[in-house]
């Protein structure tokens, strides 16, 4: 009997924590939406976050996108060359980048770069009472800290995704045509024929959702940080892990939904 209770607590405790955490994160999101419709609108803070999350991530995104496209061209060439369909490499690279690799990889990079920084920054403000100071100065921290970050994430992530997809496609072309010697005209012709703007939009929707996820998780983990510098460190790690997991889970859900 006792061991059964123990077993239940072992299974139950993380589970209730998970439900509790998800609920709290959802509430934070609702609160952010509510504050979005109340003045003041702090345009400057939004710009600062767009710069931090977006512009400062550009170089990483360009590198990630280009190399992913290049590697993808090599790998798919191996498969297609087995039945003489090398000219399909361009199609597959563009499709893969637009629908899947662009949004997922760029979001994971941004989660690691900016999501972690969001958690560390807000978490430090929490443990050093700066969030209390905001309250004390009659400024709502959710509106002041969380809203601009989430808003910036939603705006910026699709743009970064477009950059990643573009770079990946170029990278794939470079490897396919210049290194592997695939016929240039066939490569482009097939790419144009089989890849639609719809595929690209599909990825853009994903990127928007992932932008929301990584900024929401980052803010949430920071906002509820406890326990000094060690707490900030732990929250930052948890933030990146949770963002990445949620990005992959929602990638599946969105893919299945928009199939």
């Amino acid at each position: 009997m006792e061991s059964l209770v123990n077993l239940l607590t072992v299974i139950g405790l993380p589970f209730t924590r998970l439900i509790f955490g998800a609920g709290r994160m959802f509430l934070l999101f609702i609160e952010t939406v509510v504050w979005a419709f109340r003045p003041p609108f702090r345009f400057k803070l939004l710009l600062k976050q767009v710069e931090f999350i977006g512009i400062n991530s550009l170089s990483v995104i360009i590198l990630t996108g280009t190399f992913t496209g290049m590697v993808f061209a090599f790998q798919s060439y191996i498969g297609f060359s087995k039945f003489g369909a090398e000219y399909m490499v361009g199609t597959v690279v563009a499709l893969g980048m637009a629908r899947e690799l662009g949004p997922v990889l760029s979001s994971i990079m941004v989660a690691a770069r900016a999501g972690s920084a969001i958690t560390a920054e807000i978490g430090t403000m929490r443990v050093t009472e700066q969030i209390d100071a905001l309250y004390a100065l009659a400024v709502e921290p959710v509106q002041y800290l969380v809203l601009p970050r989430i808003f910036a994430g939603i705006i910026v992530m699709p743009i970064l995704n477009a950059v990643a997809v573009f770079c990946g496609t170029i990278g794939g072309y470079f490897v396919g045509v210049n290194i592997l010697g695939i016929n240039k005209t066939l490569y482009l012709q097939n790419m144009y024929r089989y890849v639609d703007l719809a595929d690209f939009y599909n990825g853009m929707v994903k990127a928007t959702v992932f932008g929301l996820i990584l900024t929401l998780v980052g803010s949430y983990k920071g906002f509820y940080t406890k326990g000094g510098a060690a707490g900030v460190g732990q929250a930052t790690t948890e933030s990146v892990v949770l963002s990445c997991v949620l990005i992959l889970v929602f990638d599946y859900i969105l893919t299945a939904f928009m199939f």
């Binding site: 403000m125 050093t128 009472e129 700066q130 209390d132 100071a133 309250y135 004390a136 009659a138």
Partner: protein
């Protein structure tokens, strides 16, 4: 005893625990309007937590906190923001925004809550920094300041908007004797000039006697005394007497 005066803040039967640890076990407190009330008490008795509850930063488990007759424990977030505009607060650790320089920290409440022009903001910021004895530090970051300087920047930020009620959490702890006197005078003069309500947490008996109109003492989660400065001098309460004399022996337990 406190009678015949307007009350700005009234705390009734306040209870607060963190986990199993009971910080407040029924605090009652009257804070008169337009006067300085000093709250005394040994370290760790929950003075800072009390101040945070008065501003609605921490919610009590039980009890009422009336600010101008309104129970702030029953307000929603939006209403709380409005109430907090009446307050200025100096945090024990100053709680400066470490991503902003000194100037931006002091200007912050002005930018958020007034429509003043940059020039007017500049004048106020420089003036507030001057009254706390700081100059030529506007462009330093908080991490470049000493503890005492940080505290004074926090003080300048708290008084920048000239709020109705100012809460000071140990404003003079960690300052040198001269700066202590400067800050005591500042608290005293700010109150007299603007006729605001000031609440000061302190350990310092001398400055309490210098600035206080009213005093309260908290010990073991309860209010030991809440009266005029005269009441403090004449009370025969053993807790108060021990605290005033600064003696190890008496009913206040040191573990």
């Amino acid at each position: 005893m406190i009678s015949g005066v307007d009350i700005q803040i009234e705390v009734k039967n306040l209870h607060k625990s963190f986990g199993d640890f009971k910080v407040h076990k029924g605090i009652d407190l009257l804070i008169p309007k337009g006067a300085i009330t000093v709250i005394l008490g040994p370290s760790g008795t929950g003075k800072s937590v009390l101040l945070k509850q008065i501003m609605g930063l921490i919610m009590p488990d039980k009890g009422e906190i009336l600010v101008d007759g309104v129970d702030i424990t029953k307000l929603d977030k939006k209403e709380l923001v409005a109430v907090r505009k009446k307050f200025g607060m100096l945090f024990q650790n100053a709680a400066l925004f470490d991503s902003m320089n000194v100037y931006e920290n002091v200007a912050f409440p002005l930018r958020e809550h007034t429509k003043l022009k940059e020039k007017e903001i500049r004048d106020i910021v420089i003036e507030k920094l001057r009254v706390v004895g700081l100059k030529d530090v506007e462009y330093k970051m908080p991490s470049e300041l000493s503890g005492g300087m940080r505290k004074r920047v926090g003080l300048a930020r708290a008084i920048a908007l000239e709020p109705d009620i100012i809460l000071y959490d140990e404003p003079t702890t960690g300052l040198d004797p001269i700066m202590k006197d400067v800050v005591d005078n500042l608290i005293y003069n700010t109150q007299k000039k603007l006729n605001i309500t000031s609440v000061v947490i302190s350990h310092d008996i001398d400055s309490t006697i210098k600035i206080a109109d009213y005093v309260a003492m908290i010990y073991d989660g309860k209010t030991v005394i809440n009266g005029t400065i005269e009441d403090l001098r004449t009370t025969d309460n053993p807790y108060v007497q021990q605290f005033l004399s600064g003696s190890m022996d008496g009913p206040i337990k040191i573990f």
